[in-house]
């Protein structure tokens, strides 16, 4: 029987299926960070348990860390305690920690791939919804809650129901100024913030194939923003080339064996999907969100839907959302003033993102009244950017390259957008208060964000290229 990519991986990881119940799914790699792990470790201790396979757990500190002066102790007491707690737990249970100051430290979904830990065919979990990012390598990767973190620590397994399967085919060449972030914002705007709930997604089609690994990760990263359990892309030469030579990539004969296995990881002709969605690249222009969930997105030259375009029972949520954002139904969005530009987060903080922004802003100057924060996804990205002189280009343009962490993506550290201010952000969530109480977020690609940094308002990057 023809199988999907998802099924090929799922089937080789099921330890047992409970009749009428979930499957016991074996987990290859388990990433942890400081925010969603302390209660799991506490739970283990209360039950008198230990970590079953510490060698398959990888830890980093990312959510709470400052992005300036990382060599100093963390000022905020609760953040410091959380980061210290992670360190103690890792030491106690024998888990490798890439904490502050370590050359591998960074956002959990940036470092896994960058170190070559994330490899095709694996099952990967983390107490973090954007774990779907790792699916770009042809893995089943999904976010879990803290109780499940505890289960995975204790047994290297989780109870999982097999999700339904959806394939999203993106065909054709991308328009000028359109990045993979625009593809995913476009897809979410079409199927809504809940449209893929209960599904595992596979992204396919010529447009997806043409993307770099960084760009593919951006797409898989936001699968959760339409409710999907996970998102994946079949590995190919682009994938293999990316992994080869990275610190934890297989070497020598192991590499050849791994490669042979990875090459079998694709959806067979004729395999069944519960749902299929076709997208034409030519329909996509640079995207931006105007509301308070990632499904509320429009093309940059478009307008916010008018009241009459909204279904009756959604009207009150829609109005509430626009009220929060200080925007009008039916209005255009181009030219709207922005106060902050945030380029970072596990969606768009990789070296390719920074290179693209640098190439665009080189020789340009930021608008006087805009704050621009550029936060690399990892220590390695930061180092690479400095080695390539990207930090200098930013400096000349009036930007600052900060130090790695989640930063203003969720504002758990000091990097918060003040109440009422507008931030154009390359992150993945525009929820109320996500970037700070009453902060207002426009989600966009790194290029569209960079364009706003130069003009001081929401702009069509194509007119500046």
């Amino acid at each position: 029987m023809p199988k999907t990519l998802f099924e090929k991986i799922w089937d080789t990881h099921v330890v047992r299926t409970i009749p009428d119940g979930p499957s016991i799914l074996y987990i290859d790699k388990h990433f942890i960070h400081e925010v969603t792990s302390p209660q799991a470790f506490k739970g283990l201790e209360q039950r008198g348990l230990t970590v079953f396979r510490p060698g398959q757990v990888i830890a980093t500190a990312d959510h709470n860390v400052p992005t300036l002066n990382q060599h100093l102790p963390i000022k905020e007491e609760l953040s410091r305690i959380q980061v210290d707690t992670l360190q103690k737990n890792c030491a106690k249970f024998g888990i490798e920690l890439y904490g502050l100051g370590h050359p591998f430290q960074g956002i959990v979904h940036v470092i896994g791939p960058e170190l070559g830990i994330t490899q095709p065919g694996m099952t990967i979990v983390c107490g973090d919804s954007h774990t779907s990012t790792h699916g770009a390598f042809g893995t089943i990767a999904f976010g879990i809650g803290t109780s499940e973190v505890e289960m995975a620590l204790a047994t290297q397994c989780l109870m999982q129901h097999k999700p339904k399967l959806m394939r999203i085919n993106v065909e054709g060449k991308l328009n000028k100024g359109v990045l993979s972030k625009d593809i995913i914002l476009y897809i979410i705007s079409k199927i809504s913030a809940s449209g893929a709930t209960g599904y595992a997604l596979e992204y396919a089609g010529s447009a997806i194939r043409s993307l770099s690994m960084e760009a593919r990760m951006t797409i898989c990263n936001m699968s959760i923003e339409m409710g999907a359990r996970c998102g994946m892309i079949a590995p190919d030469e682009t994938t293999f080339h990316y992994i080869k030579g990275r610190p934890f990539a297989p070497q020598g004969g192991d590499w050849d064996n791994a490669l042979a296995r990875w090459k079998t990881l694709f959806t067979d002709e004729g395999a069944w999907f519960d749902r299929e969605l076709n997208v034409e690249s030519s329909d996509i222009e640079p995207m931006i969100t105007y509301g308070t969930n990632p499904g509320m997105g429009i093309g940059i030259s478009g307008h916010i839907p008018g009241m009459q375009e909204i279904e009756e029972r959604e009207k009150s949520s829609f109005e509430k959302s626009l009220h929060y954002m200080g925007l009008e139904a039916g209005a255009g969005i181009k030219g709207k003033k922005v106060d902050y530009v945030f380029i970072g987060s596990c969606t768009n903080s990789r070296i390719e993102d920074l290179r693209m922004v640098a190439a665009f802003v080189k020789g340009k100057q930021k608008a006087a009244d805009v704050q621009v924060w550029i936060v690399p996804g990892s220590k390695q990205v930061e180092q690479q950017a400095r080695a390539e002189g990207i930090d200098k280009i930013f400096e000349d343009a009036g930007f600052l390259l900060r130090q790695p962490g989640c930063s203003a993506c969720l504002g758990m550290n000091e990097d918060k957008i003040p109440a009422g201010k507008y931030c154009i952000s390359t992150s993945n969530r525009n929820f109320e208060g996500r970037q700070g109480p009453n902060a207002r977020t426009f989600l966009a690609s790194p290029l569209t964000a960079a364009a706003a940094a130069i003009t001081g308002s929401v702009s069509d990057v194509r007119e500046l290229m």
């Binding site: 348990l49 959380q82 929820f431």
Partner: protein
């Protein structure tokens, strides 16, 4: 004993779609290292003006003394966004045992079940009936019977309205008996180790 029984209670109607877990518990309250005490920050930014506990926001349902109970009524796509289990902890700690919606986000649903907070998925039309009845009369009773898998609206003027809800049989057994997944997984450790030995492990 945390085993789940029948819950008969009044309900609190929270009529907003796409409620994400950042609203349920904002990120700045995730700095704790224990599971306790999240209830006081449940819906923090919808509950208070400028984060000020002495200035409750008028019009937000948790601030309305007319509504209380162990059942939270929610609109479509409840619990979307971040995987933070703190959202389920906060709802449970505040005093809810059941959340009712026509549609739950995936991870939230799992997290709720793992904390003996029962997510009950009902039809759009039944949900509308629930909201209508509870909003017009806060003393309206709602009964959730897990064993029978029914949710019943005790209508004051007319016969009670009832609907069946789905729950996985395995999960139902766990909830009714107070078991959690980790007990089950721990009992399988030998089988898991054997599974590890049997498979091709060259890439891990």
């Amino acid at each position: 004993m945390r085993a789940f029984t029948t819950i008969a209670s009044t309900a609190v109607p929270l009529n907003a779609e796409n409620v994400d877990t950042d609203q349920i518990i904002p990120a700045r309250f995730l700095k704790a290292t224990s599971r306790d005490g999240f209830g006081k920050n449940l819906f923090r930014d919808w509950r208070y003006e400028n984060d000020n506990e002495s200035r409750p926001r008028k019009g937000f349902v948790l601030n309305d003394p007319a509504f209380h109970g162990r059942i939270l009524l929610c609109a479509k796509n409840f619990g979307c966004g971040s995987s933070r289990e703190h959202a389920a902890w906060a709802i449970k700690d505040y005093g809810f045992d059941v959340v009712v919606s026509s549609f739950f986000a995936d991870i939230f649903k799992n997290n709720a079940l793992n904390n003996f907070l029962l997510p009950v998925t009902v039809s759009e039309s039944f949900l509308n009936e629930l909201f209508k009845a509870v909003e017009s009369d806060p003393s309206t009773g709602v009964t959730v019977d897990l064993a029978a898998q029914t949710i019943t609206l005790d209508k004051k003027n007319g016969p009670a309205l009832s609907e069946k809800f789905d729950i996985n049989p395995y999960k139902k057994t766990c909830l009714l008996n107070g078991y959690d997944d980790i007990d089950y997984l721990l009992s399988m450790k030998d089988e898991i180790a054997e599974f590890e030995n049997n498979r091709i492990t060259s890439n891990i």
